[in-house]
Amino acid sequence: MFKKILIANRGEIAVRVIRACHEMGIEAVAIYSDVDREALHVRFADEAYHVGAPPASESYLVAERIIEVAKACGAEAIHPGYGFLSERAVFVEACKEAGIVFIGPEAEVMMKMGDKVRARQTMQAAGVPIVPGTTEALTDEQAIAFSKEIGLPVMVKASAGGGGKGMRLVKEESALQSSIERARSEAMASFGDDTIYVEKFVEEPRHIEIQILADQHGNVIHLAERECSIQRRHQKVIEEAPANRMTPELREAMGQAAVAAAKAVHYHGAGTCEFLVDKNMDFYFLEMNTRVQVEHAITEEITGVDIVKAMIRVAAGEPLGIEQNEVQISGHAIEARIYAEDPEKGFVPSPGELVVYRPPGGIGVRVDSGVYLGAKVTVFYDPMVAKLVATGRDRPEAIDRMRRALREFAVKGIKTSIPFHEAVMKHPKFIEGHYDTGFIEEHMGGAFDPGEDEEAERVANIMAAIAAYRSAKARAAGAASSTQGGGASEGQWRNAGRRGQMRGGLR
């Protein structure tokens, strides 16, 4: 087993990997940019090295520097987390050349699965169902012709895409040309590659994905599914495991498809096969993520398997040590991604210092976070503050628990999406468990309205008066002590310093 692992990431996922290392008795090496010197992932690490300026392109994405650090400190392996360098085949190659183990699949496999078009071809060949559509790069003309052939609505997608970028739903023929153009330009801007393809749009689509684990000895298992249909602008917001309306047969079929896909490319490590499931419960392969997912925690909760530790073990060449028939699902888990964003203002990021941070606790509640009280959320990175996971014996209990945990979660200094999640947990359609990827758009509005609460409003009014009173009193007390304290000239000087505070005291 490795003695020292470098984590080429930051935030909650870096903390997650450090935890796995420490539980395995492995030393964890953190890297940090200028603004992350006091970040939690640095505080938890055994070693920490500065790698550059705040923009990721000058720190967390500088492959050479990170590999240099790993070599210098004697780290035998690098865990990439998600995002950043986690799906860059060139980085995987560079690690190999430097004699460092990349904790994830081979570069070749990553390239095969990272390119959506190639991935679809590979999957089709392995007998995995895919959404009717092209599997090759298309010219604009081909894309239009093919769209008419399979019938609208269709999805125009960037081959190199991800996270909703370079993706367009087209419902009418007249919008085809412009949608293709926008998809291409977005893809070029985001990924430097404007290759696109076209897919049939699946009706009442649900996003269900299968977690797999594979070792280097040909053992591949799946850890059942996660439902990630609650999305905003194609970004997952709430995930749950197991999926709603799942049957043992469908799980078996989807699980086998995912295992077959992994075996087809001699995959090793943790991976996720994303599928669309339509209203008839037919499923179609979408893409494979060749890294740990944000939402891996809910699978850990219902299976008891530590996915990150398993990744490290198989990267070190150890066998999985768990057979498919040992994977038992018990209970239900829900994850809410808590973002530093303002739900009232269309979810714009809300950076700042956490002047209050009191995460929830107790039974069935897990918080994976990269922050702490006093930490600063900057504009440079992903605005996710914490992943809140609630687990219960069944789905209703998980929802009740999530609602309770959200209520306990106290954050001040930044705005968060907590009120949004509270609204979702109270929504009848969510509680019913019958929803698809259109849920937020259909039921939660662009912004959202948590509804009236007379009692809360009354207390808010009282507190506004108390706050105004306390604020004015504090200012008066400050003024009083300054006139008492020293001579006129000093008083003048001090008051000048407080002027900002007093501005607008009475208009």
């Binding site: 808010a460 009282i462 706050a467 105004a468 005291g505 009475l506």
Partner: protein
């Protein structure tokens, strides 16, 4: 102290809240014609724990300005403006006089804490000239118009009575061109 609380971006009418501090953190509040006791505890880097009639609420208060507060409880964010009645009256009276030299008087007994300008100074409308403390509250008395200070009898440390002249401001000559900043 009587506050008028209005909710921003809302058509709801302003609500009147009368407040009397009993001791640190303990208030007698009159709202909607009802008098209640409110215990608003806060220590260290925490949020308020408010108990009113036995009901307990955790309330986060963000001061956006001396009378603007963002108040979050039970997943609901309220943007509230709290104007104390006295300030409102003062503001109204200073608005009424609108041409010629303006004489600004004390509206209630208090103590001059700070004089922020001198005779001959040019001041802008809304600029603070004198700071008066009354009822433990500090109030900045602003110039009602753009102009020049011509009289300034107020002195720091001085006690003023209702009606005492604080300062006189003469409109700036070029105010006729209608292009106030």
């Amino acid at each position: 102290m009587i506050y008028e609380i209005s909710q921003k971006k809302s058509k709801k009418p302003a609500r009147k809240v009368e407040l009397r501090e009993l001791e640190e953190g303990q208030y007698e509040i009159e709202i909607d014609g009802e008098t209640v006791h409110v215990d608003a505890a806060k220590s260290g880097r925490t949020i308020y724990s408010v108990i009113e009639g036995g009901r307990q609420f955790e309330v986060s208060v963000d001061e956006k300005g001396p009378r603007d507060f963002d108040i979050l409880l039970r997943g609901r964010l309220f943007h509230l403006e709290a104007v104390d009645e006295r300030s409102r009256l003062l503001a109204a009276s200073s608005k009424m006089a609108s041409s010629g030299p303006q004489t600004v008087e004390a509206e209630m007994p208090g103590k001059v804490m700070l004089v922020k300008a001198a005779v001959g100074d040019t001041v802008a409308e809304g600029q603070g000239v004198v700071v008066i403390e009354a009822m433990k509250m500090e109030n900045e008395i602003e110039s009602p118009i753009d102009g020049v200070i011509t009289e300034l009898p107020a002195e720091a440390g001085q006690t003023v009575e209702n009606g005492d002249v604080l300062f006189v401001v003469e409109p700036t000559p070029d105010e006729g061109d209608g292009s106030k900043r």
